[in-house]
């Protein structure tokens, strides 16, 4: 047999390094049917997968819609909507790739800030995209148009007075008889706008109006997803299912299903200082993971690391028949 070329890794004149080079194999070759092995593996895996699928099925929790959110928790919806209008929501202050309203929002490690370098690619103007533009799609809205015009033509300090007052009051709002009941105050046109938006959301019309693509077909759910994620309703659902980042949620799945267990290391870094509290945690964790991935790929080149297998002597167990043969 001269098939496998058990090449000695040594370059000419280089000293033999047991963690890099191998001796030439001059021993026996025994029959080994690779194709048969693959076919048996295929049968075994198929049976195992069928068994697991029959026994455990797979999870499919219903998605949250703007309609289901605003129906379940209209006050949370209204609270979120007002922060989108006055620009205090998480998305409004996110930074790239959605907007550049808050220059301090960009994550960085020293001068390294790729988020800023790439810039805004999926622009979201929360006041217009989440509140004003959707309201303008409603039919028969003479009174509503007057409110929208009053709001858009007011000075920014006037707008801020209205929205700040409303934001405080809506925390104590209730929902009854098909409408938001907000304690009375000086909200100007903001109250009718948010009321109308809440009704629109509960009708389901807002889901369609938020789709980024204004054509018939669309597949981009960036705008509605980010709007929903700004509310506490989705966050509470995730929290209840142990899916929050602070709960090692990245590797978890709804219910009792195993999740992406292979993300254990990625989610681990979010649980430890300084990433646990850092506003640059995402970039820091990604930097760590990229570095670790590079190290894993380059283990064969890294002195010390590449010696661990030899030092651990686990190979003595794996190849114990071989060592018995040559002893």
């Amino acid at each position: 047999m001269t098939t496998a070329d058990e090449t000695n890794g040594r370059r000419h004149g280089r000293r033999f390094n047991p963690d890099r080079d191998v001796a030439v194999w001059n021993g026996k070759y025994l029959p080994y049917d690779l194709v048969k092995e693959f076919l048996i593996a295929l049968v075994v895996v198929t049976l195992l997968v069928v068994l697991l699928a029959v026994v455990f099925s797979s999870p499919d929790d219903h998605p949250v819609t703007v309609r289901s959110w605003s129906t379940a928790q209209p006050v949370d919806f209204a609270q979120t909507a007002i922060t989108e209008l006055d620009g205090s929501s998480a998305v409004a202050n996110y930074g790239p790739p959605y907007n550049a309203t808050n220059p301090g929002a960009t994550q960085s490690i020293g001068p390294f800030s790729p988020e800023r370098w790439f810039g805004v690619h999926h622009p979201i103007d929360t006041a217009n995209d989440y509140v004003i533009a959707p309201l303008q799609t409603l039919p028969d809205r003479a009174a509503l148009d007057a409110s929208i015009n009053a709001y858009t033509s007011a000075s920014s300090s006037q707008q801020a007075n209205w929205t700040t007052a409303y934001e405080k009051a809506v925390a104590n709002a209730t929902f009854a008889q098909g409408g938001l009941k907000v304690p009375s105050g000086a909200y100007g046109p903001v109250a009718p706008m948010i009321s109308a938006l809440t009704s629109m959301a509960r009708s389901g019309a807002l889901d369609g109006a938020l789709l980024s693509s204004r054509q018939f077909y669309g597949t981009d759910y960036t705008k509605p997803l980010l709007f929903i994620a700004d509310g506490t309703y989705l966050a509470n659902l995730g929290q209840a299912q142990h899916l929050q980042g602070s709960q090692w949620g990245m590797m978890n799945e709804t219910g009792n299903y195993p999740g992406q267990a292979w993300l254990w290391l990625y989610t681990l870094w979010y649980q430890v200082a300084p990433m646990k509290t850092s506003s640059n945690a995402d970039l820091q964790v990604w930097a760590i993971m990229m570095l670790l991935t590079l190290i894993l790929a380059l283990v064969p080149f890294i002195p010390g690391l590449r010696s661990i297998p030899r030092w651990s002597r686990i190979y003595r167990l794996i190849w114990r028949q071989h060592y018995r043969d040559i002893s």
Binding site: W248, M251, G255, P258, W264, Q321, R324
Partner: protein, 62 residues
């Protein structure tokens, strides 16, 4: 036929229902779902078994 459909329906719905509140283990700052712990534990067990269980090679001892 109806029975078959019922059986099929039950089968695809899962004989053991894993939906519902998840079971989680808290250990210091570590939180892990019982399901993930089982998967990771099994990996270690299977790895150890793969190394320790004798493999009969053709014409070989062991």
């Amino acid at each position: 036929m109806q029975t078959l459909t019922a059986v099929m329906g039950h089968m695809v719905g899962g004989l053991i229902n894993l939906t519902g509140p998840g079971h989680y283990i808290h250990w210091g700052f570590i939180q892990i779902s019982a399901a993930n712990l089982v998967v990771i534990g099994l990996m270690v067990v299977v790895f150890a078994a793969a190394i320790l269980i004798p493999f009969r090679r053709p014409g070989g001892r062991d």
